[in-house]
Amino acid sequence: MRYLGLIAFGIVFILSGLAARGLAGSSGGHIELGQLLLMGGYPLVSAMLLLGWLLGRYPLIATLVLLAGVISRDRHNGHARIYASRPTTMLRIYAPRVLLLAFSAFLLSAILMPTFDVIMLGQWNGPSTLVLIACYVIAYTGLITLLSVFTRGEAWLTLLLAVTAMVWDALRRGGLLDNAPPGIAQVVAFILPPQGALFRVETAFAEMQPLPWASVGYVIGYGVVTLIAAAVFLEDREL
């Protein structure tokens, strides 16, 4: 059901892209925003830009949708106790499931985003698209899995943290946190999901620049550390 929802959501993107291409496709293969402005004014252009922005969050959305309740649901309805009665570890039970769901989120995004790029821009941005998707999926798989060990509201909490991190990073980049007490902005940015690093990867991707591998490494490190923390707490936590 969740997969169907995500596929349907993806189809909406594709259809919107195809409609925009039909309305304002250029000979160069990309969409002419100026032409869209003439046809539908700012609302139409804004809608397309919003669609593009939302598409950039598709790996995050897919990760949240697929991994919501991955551990917490089993804890809540008692299934985890059934599994825990076997001579095995919780890690052995949940690690394959988390990895499979994360891979599914990656795969869905890896199909949708390049397809949308081809429709809107007339070309594929290359393997860096996949790196960007992997960064999102790894970072947020770690966070949502860690939160799922503790609470059933993990998806909403992850979304809240993601949005907070986006806003915080935007404030920091805009210089609005320059007057904050020394270290505070950095500490908060460190605790929140790595939106700053993700933004740098995204910017490089959008501008077709070489990927900032240090940022990629930071994002992957964040995901790995949160996954390790999830594994440690999962083995120790009451069921």
């Binding site: 008692g78 106790r81 059934i82 001579p87 095995t88 039970i93 009451e238």
Partner: protein, 308 residues
Amino acid sequence: MVENSFIRFDRIGKRFGGRPRGGGGGVEALRNVSVSFERGECVGIVGPNGAGKSTLFALLLGFLRPSSGTVRIENVPPRDYARARGYGYLPELFDLPSEWRVADALDALARLDGLIDHPEAEASRVLALLGLDEHRNKQVGALSRGLLQRLGIAQALLGSHELVVLDEPTEGLDPLWRIRLREIIQTLKTPERTIIIASHELAEVELLADRTIVLDRGEVRDFLAMNMTGETRTVRIVLNEAHDAVEQAFPQLVRHEGREYLVQVETAADLTQRIAALIEAGGVIEAVSPAEGLEERVRRTLDAGSVS
């Protein structure tokens, strides 16, 4: 409490909610519980709702950590024991993902159990044992309460674990399957295996358990031996007509009303010997039964607890 018991609860307390580090408040589910379970015994846990039976199980199986005291199975914490050996467990409200199919669910759970050599064959065995063969392709969500309970029992019997814990195993079962379950549990009894059963069905516990622990309001109220060793028992004997030989055969005569006698004996052998003497003397026996069943004994224990 025996030091080298298979399972040891040592002054266990469990509090839900409240302030940390014993700061009070919250609900005290268990209080200073010290019990032990030996290999090869079948123990019943009885008590009213909210007595702490399920919490006791959750601590025993390592799902919860005690607020005070220690639990050990083979001298290791329960969670460590479970990771290494596993156990058969039927929760009070058994459930699995509703979209799973019966046979697939058992197969998947058997595969999780690293100690089972042939998971598929083991899943088929318990499927047949619990009469689920004809329901093998049904989804869990489509099962009736009784079938779901049988599936729960089936998964608890996967493998050959030394510890089997059944929380309300007869819940939802029809009379025929209650009898069948009793037979199955009898076959599970081996010198190596400990079986612990919590149930409101005292008659079932009486038939299955070697001893019974009475829990009430988070405390152990009594340990009741179900066999005839270790304590004097009162037995009701009904003859076809009153006979003087009863007084000679049973010097510890408690009461006599018409052709019904209440007598005290020490052991099963003692009872057999005295009944033989009574028959020898011409007594014709219509019935021999415990003067006080588990239900009366538990009620008396709980009543005494509520008075105190």
